[in-house]
C-alpha cells in the first residue's frame, strides 16, 4: 500500500492502507488527536484499493478489502473514500472481533454507569448518544458496544460518529465546525457527515464502565416507557450482536450476565429533548 494510517480506537487498533492519499488525508484530519497503536501491531487491516489496477487513475472507485471480506462490500467512488474507510473498519470489527461480545448499539456513561442504546437502524440511537455526549455524558461509542467477556465491563469504541440526513443539522447546531468531516452527499445511505467525539471521550477511550441500563429507543412516537422482559431482551440482543453465534457458550454466558445486571426499557420519544430528559430521569433513579 502506498499510503498508510494507524489508529487506536478504544481497545482496538487499525491499519488503514490506501492506494490514494486523499481518503487517508481526510481520515487523518477527522481522527486528529487519536493515539497511534503501540508497538505497530494492529488488530485489523483495512485496505482501500482500486477495483482494477488501471482504475486508480481512470474514474477511480474504491473497493474495501481487509482481513475479512464480505462479497457485498461494494466499491464506492473515491469521493466517498472516507465512508469506505468507515465501512471497512466496521466490517473488520463485525466479522473479526473475538475478544468482546459486540452489540450494534450506542453507549454513553455518567458517574461510572453505562447506558446501552440499541434498536433498529433509524431509531435515533446514534443521534441521541451524540447529543448526550455533548450534554454531560461521556460518549463511549455510537455504533458498537464492546462487552468484555472476562470482566463484564463495557469498553469504549469512540470512532467518529456517522451522522445521517437530519441528524447532521442537529449536531451542527451543537458542536464546533472543526470536529466535522466533509459533507458526503448522495451516498448509498443518503447524506452523511462524520463528527469526532469530544476531548473527554478521546481522553478516556481506555476506560471501561459497568453496564447499568439497556434502552431500546424509538423515535417518532408519542412519549412512552415500558419495561422489556428479560427473555425479549435476550432475543433482541442476540439479533443486535454481530458475533454472538461465533462466540458460542462464552457469548451465551456474557449476554446472560449483562441481562441479569441491567434493567431494560423501551422508550418511544417524539423529539430528542424528551429522550434526553428520560435518560436523565433514569440515571437519577439508578443513582438513588
Amino acid at each position: 500500500m502506498r499510503h498508510q494510517l494507524f489508529l487506536q480506537i478504544g481497545p482496538v487498533s487499525f491499519r488503514i492502507g490506501s492506494a490514494w492519499g486523499e481518503p487517508l488525508d481526510r481520515l487523518a484530519r477527522l481522527y486528529a488527536g487519536y493515539p497511534e497503536p503501540e508497538a505497530g501491531l494492529c488488530d485489523f487491516t483495512v485496505r482501500l484499493e482500486p477495483e482494477q489496477p488501471w482504475r486508480r487513475w481512470f474514474r477511480p472507485s474504491v473497493a474495501i478489502r481487509g482481513d475479512y471480506i464480505l462479497p457485498d462490500a461494494a466499491p464506492l467512488s473515491l469521493a466517498h473514500g472516507l465512508l469506505a474507510a468507515e465501512m471497512g473498519m466496521n466490517l473488520q470489527m463485525a466479522l473479526g472481533q473475538k475478544r468482546y461480545l459486540l452489540l450494534h448499539a450506542a453507549t454513553v456513561e455518567k458517574d461510572g454507569r453505562a447506558v446501552i442504546l440499541t434498536g433498529e437502524s433509524g431509531a435515533g440511537k446514534s443521534t441521541l448518544a451524540a447529543l448526550l455526549g455533548e450534554r454531560g455524558w461521556r460518549l463511549m461509542g455510537d455504533e458498537f458496544a464492546l462487552l468484555d467477556m472476562a470482566s463484564g465491563m463495557l469498553l469504549p469504541f469512540p470512532r467518529a460518529v456517522s451522522l445521517k440526513n437530519g441528524a447532521i443539522r442537529v449536531m451542527e447546531a451543537e458542536v464546533e465546525a472543526s470536529r466535522f468531516g466533509p459533507l458526503l452527499a448522495g451516498t448509498p445511505k443518503g447524506d452523511i457527515r462524520h463528527m469526532r467525539p469530544n476531548r473527554n471521550a478521546l481522553a478516556r477511550m481506555g476506560e471501561g464502565a459497568r453496564p447499568a441500563l439497556i434502552l431500546f429507543p424509538r423515535f417518532g412516537e408519542a412519549g412512552a416507557v415500558r419495561a422489556v422482559g428479560r427473555a425479549e431482551v435476550f432475543m433482541r440482543l442476540t439479533q443486535a450482536s454481530t458475533n454472538y453465534v461465533a462466540l458460542g457458550s462464552r457469548g451465551f454466558d456474557s449476554l446472560n450476565r449483562l441481562i441479569a445486571a441491567c434493567p431494560a426499557l423501551a422508550i418511544d420519544y417524539p423529539d430528542t429533548a424528551t429522550a434526553i430528559g428520560l435518560v436523565e430521569d433514569f440515571r437519577q433513579e439508578l443513582a438513588a
Binding site: G229, A231, F234, M235, G248, S249, F252, N256
Partner: protein, 92 residues
C-alpha cells in the same frame, strides 16, 4: 404399536438460564441458542433419564406434574415434533 423413541443430550451439554418464566438454552453440540417455554425444559429433563416414546414420556411427566384435561398426549407429540425440529431431541 409403540411410537418412535426419543433421547435428549445430557444436561452438561445444554446451558439453561430461566428468564421471566421462559428458558434460554445454549445447545453446545450445535452452537445454537433456543428460547423455550414450559413444558419443553421438563420434557428435556425427563428424556435425560433414558430414551422414551411419547406414552412413556407422559408417564414420567405425570409422576411429577399435574395434567388437566385429556389433551396431554396430543400436546406431547406436538412439543416433541418441535423439539426434534430444533435439534434438542432426536430419535433413539
Amino acid at each position: 404399536m409403540a411410537g418412535p423413541r426419543y433421547i435428549a443430550d445430557p444436561e452438561e451439554t445444554v446451558r439453561s438460564v430461566e428468564l421471566d418464566g421462559l428458558s434460554v438454552l445454549f445447545h453446545e453440540p450445535s452452537g445454537m441458542t433456543h428460547i423455550v417455554a414450559a413444558p419443553a425444559p421438563e420434557i428435556l429433563e425427563m428424556l435425560r433419564a433414558g430414551p422414551a416414546d411419547a406414552a412413556e414420556l407422559l408417564r414420567r411427566l405425570r409422576a411429577r406434574f399435574e395434567f388437566e384435561g385429556n389433551e396431554a398426549e396430543a400436546a406431547i407429540h406436538a412439543r416433541l415434533d418441535e423439539l426434534e425440529a430444533a435439534g434438542l431431541v432426536r430419535r433413539a
